[in-house]
Amino acid sequence: MRTPKRRRLYLVLACGLCFAAAVGLTLAAFSSSLTYFLSPRQLVAKPPPMGQSFRLGGIVEVGSVSTTLAGTTPTTHFAVTDGRAAVDVRYTGVLPDLFREGQGVVAIGSMGPGGVFVADEVLAKHGAAYMPKDVEQALKEAGKWNPKFGPPPPASTWNTMQVKAGS
């Protein structure tokens, strides 16, 4: 049977198989490797199990960055905050150029012993004015920042919640 219909059937079958494979792979990968994006507040409220990989996003708390040495291997410690809670982060590696205190970062890793987030990778946002949505919301709710009146207050003041008039 070498009719055009039969040939078209092969084609449709091949396409169907391939897309079934694509859907199957997608679902399998979704169930195993989807990483959640958590803010420090969410992390503190409901800590994920140790070893599960996720992303932590927020602002580097001012005055929290320090480095310790074990032999010749340095480890950087800093805290990531969203204005409501702060999480300690440990990272061995080179921090991106835009990493600074008071800047937005995204850290990828998992929780280690003692409530410390062990980062495998730390990324800084390109934009200097980056601010996580949660932080923005929190600042607006706290009455500390109205986007109409210029840039947000420095991150160092967020945890202390003093209300400044204007800026």
Partner: protein, 654 residues
């Protein structure tokens, strides 16, 4: 004064673009020859207006006219000339103008080089291009005007983001945009063909060179961007599966599929509707790639040019373009009856297989990229879909393509036999098997699969070339002569496959990379990757608009010191920021990569040292792919534009 002229030219361009659109699309149905001749002229003047506007902005940048807000915000008196010019497209408004400039350049190219086309088809193609361009020019003019003035002007500009002060910015965006925007021509051809209701072999012949040209630019643009991201810190290395990177990959995938199935349309008149759909999909993905990222819907580490307030306008434009073209396709597609029939084992089937898998990869990448914003909208959770997801889904789907790439070019059209093809590929298959076994014995399974796949593709493409010149079966001189008389398109195709194989080799090699982070005092050394790395000294050095601290590192193997690396940290005074300048030494097959991360309190330097085997092959492969495309474009068949048998027949019939 000059910026006002630029602004005026931009307004003229909007009017001209819409005129080109209306005259081009509706003119041919009025059967008025004046409309057919006016459209190319309108396309030329439209380009002139946009180019004038762009030059005015460049002029304002070069002379540092800080009364223009765009210049004051992103440039400063101390910025070097190169970055005063490239900074124009380093921000949102200016990059929009560059985007429109390239789009109007595409229209100009069709007007100038489209003399071979039937006049009504050319007018309609230009009309579609004019409408798209008009929409985006209107957006630029009304919502993101790059010529806005400020008064009083600041004494000095705010300066450019130091991380963007890099030659990467000079080349990557224009090349990438040319790739994105170039697919608008293939799109316009598809829409015009749908309006005319005729898709034949000639359509494949006209669309392919344009699709190929933009594919070459897109490939080089992605390769350049990947390289830039590789030597800049904090951008996640050569490929991070970031939404912006995926946005460039998606049109590349469907564009590659388009290139391959346009061959089938041209040679065999099959898969017509599918080709038209791919042309629409590719440009739609280019558009959404450029703009979804800027509209703030997708979150990215690379989104330096965001304009979230203008998202609605962009979404409306996207909806009109994509929705309108798909609607037209739905109405007109039944007209496009297939003609060619082929057996399950044939060149056509191999190309269909390539298309199916490329589109499956595109669908998976699309899902992974767009799932997080939808999950946020629907379920209120913040998710991110990262590298593990894409590696798990894309790599299994890429494997069949890699295997089929070896066979495909050797199969005959219409009906083929597997056995003789397999016989010819014994060398490629044998080498791939040996590579796999050697690497697998060292327990690098992923690298083994990748290296074997890359070797298979490269050697199979060489086998194809050797077959065509009948190497070793006729005297060598005759083979060389055959090589030079071979159609350049076949050489280009083989080069494209070789380039892809080389990139696969590079990516596979990178899975064997080594890294070490150490703090060294001057004089201290460490061992990594079989070498001894010694920090000799740390010293200061001047730069044009920054000062820098340089670390001198020597690398030694057992024969002594063979390399000195000088990674540095740059301190930009205007912006009070620090950037890292990595030192990379390459011998073409292995990169030694050193970063001066920080100066520690005790006087030492914190260094990151990397050994990246095969890393340069990632971009060399991309370059070979693009070269293959350009080579194929120089084929005599495309340059001369010889009318095909079908086109003559169609002309006679109508």
């Amino acid at each position: 004064m000059i910026p006002e002229l630029g602004h005026f030219a931009l307004a003229c361009a909007v009017a001209l673009a819409f005129a080109q659109g209306v005259v081009g699309i509706f003119g041919p149905s009025l059967r008025d020859p004046r409309a057919l001749y006016a459209t190319p002229l309108l396309a030329c003047s439209h380009f002139a207006a946009v180019a004038g506007s762009f030059l005015a902005l460049v002029w304002a940048g070069v002379v540092s006219d800080f009364t223009v807000e765009n210049i004051a915000d992103f440039s400063s008196a101390a910025t070097p000339l190169l970055y005063r010019i490239t900074g124009i497209w380093g921000n949102h408004d200016g990059s929009m103008l560059l985007w429109c400039l390239i789009l109007s350049l595409c229209g100009l190219a069709v007007a100038l080089f489209g003399g071979e086309l039937p006049a009504s088809l050319r007018a309609r193609v230009l009309g579609v291009l004019g409408l798209i361009s008009g929409g985006f020019l209107l957006f630029t003019l009304s919502v993101s005007d790059p010529f806005t003035r400020i008064w009083p002007p600041p004494l000095n500009g705010a300066g450019m983001n130091p991380i963007l002060q890099d030659p990467g910015l000079a080349f990557h965006p224009p090349v990438l945009y040319t790739g994105y925007v170039g697919f608008s021509v293939a799109f316009a051809f598809a829409i015009a063909a749908l309006i005319e209701g005729r898709v034949d072999a000639a359509f494949g012949r006209w669309v392919r060179p344009w699709a190929l040209l933009s594919w070459c630019f897109l490939t080089s643009g992605i390769a350049l961007g990947s390289w830039w991201s590789y030597y800049t810190l904090g951008w996640g290395g050569y490929w991070f599966w970031d939404p912006v990177e995926n946005a460039a990959l998606l049109p590349w995938l469907t564009g590659t599929a388009l290139l391959h199935c346009a061959i089938v349309v041209e040679k065999r008149e099959a898969l017509k509707a599918w080709t038209v759909l791919l042309a629409i999909a590719t440009f739609s993905l280019s558009l959404s790639g450029t703009f979804l990222v800027r509209s703030g819907i997708l979150n990215s580490v690379h989104s330096f040019a965001a304009a979230p307030d203008q998202g609605l306008f962009i979404l409306a434009l996207l909806g009109l373009t994509i929705g309108g073209s798909l609607l037209l396709f739905a109405i007109r597609a039944p007209v496009l009856a297939a003609a060619g029939i082929f057996a399950p084992i044939s060149r056509e089937s191999a190309l269909v297989l390539n298309n199916v898998f490329l589109c499956a990869i595109a669908a998976v990448v699309f899902t992974g990229t767009l799932y997080p914003p939808f999950a946020n909208l629907l379920f209120g959770v913040q998710l991110s879909v990262g590298a593990p997801f894409f590696n798990q889904t894309v790599l299994p789907l890429a494997a069949p393509i890699i295997i089929a790439m070896g066979f495909g070019p050797l199969l005959a059209w219409k009906r083929a036999d597997f056995a003789p093809v397999l016989q010819r590929l014994y060398l490629a298959g044998g080498v791939a098997a040996v590579v796999f076994l050697v690497m697998a014995a060292n327990r690098h399974i992923i690298a083994a699969l990748g290296l074997a796949g890359g070797a298979w593709v490269v050697l199979a493409a060489f086998t194809d070339l050797a077959q065509r010149v009948r190497l070793f079966r006729v005297p060598l001189g005759q083979s060389v002569a055959r090589f030079f008389t071979m159609p350049r398109a076949s050489i280009g195709a083989a080069l494209g496959h070789i380039g892809f194989g080389v990139t696969v080799l590079g990516i596979a090699g990178m899975t064997l990379a080594l890294q070490s982070v150490v703090v060294l005092q001057p004089g201290q050394s460490t061992k990594m990757g079989g070498y001894v790395w010694t920090l000799q000294d740390i010293h200061s050095a001047p730069g044009p608009n920054y000062t820098r601290r340089v670390a001198d590192i020597t690398v030694a193997d057992k024969d002594g010191v063979f390399l000195r690396l000088h990674p540095s940290r740059r301190f930009f005074t205007t912006q009070k920021t620090i950037t890292n300048d990595a030192a990379i030494h390459t011998n073409g097959f292995r990169d030694l990569y050193a970063v001066f991360a920080d100066e520690s309190a005790g006087g030492g330097a914190e260094l990151r040292l990397n050994d990246h085997p095969m890393a340069p092959e990632i971009w060399i492969g991309g370059l070979i792919m693009a070269l293959g495309g350009f080579f194929s474009l120089s084929d005599r068949r495309l340059r001369v534009g010889a009318p095909s048998r079908k086109r003559v027949a169609a002309a006679v019939a109508s």
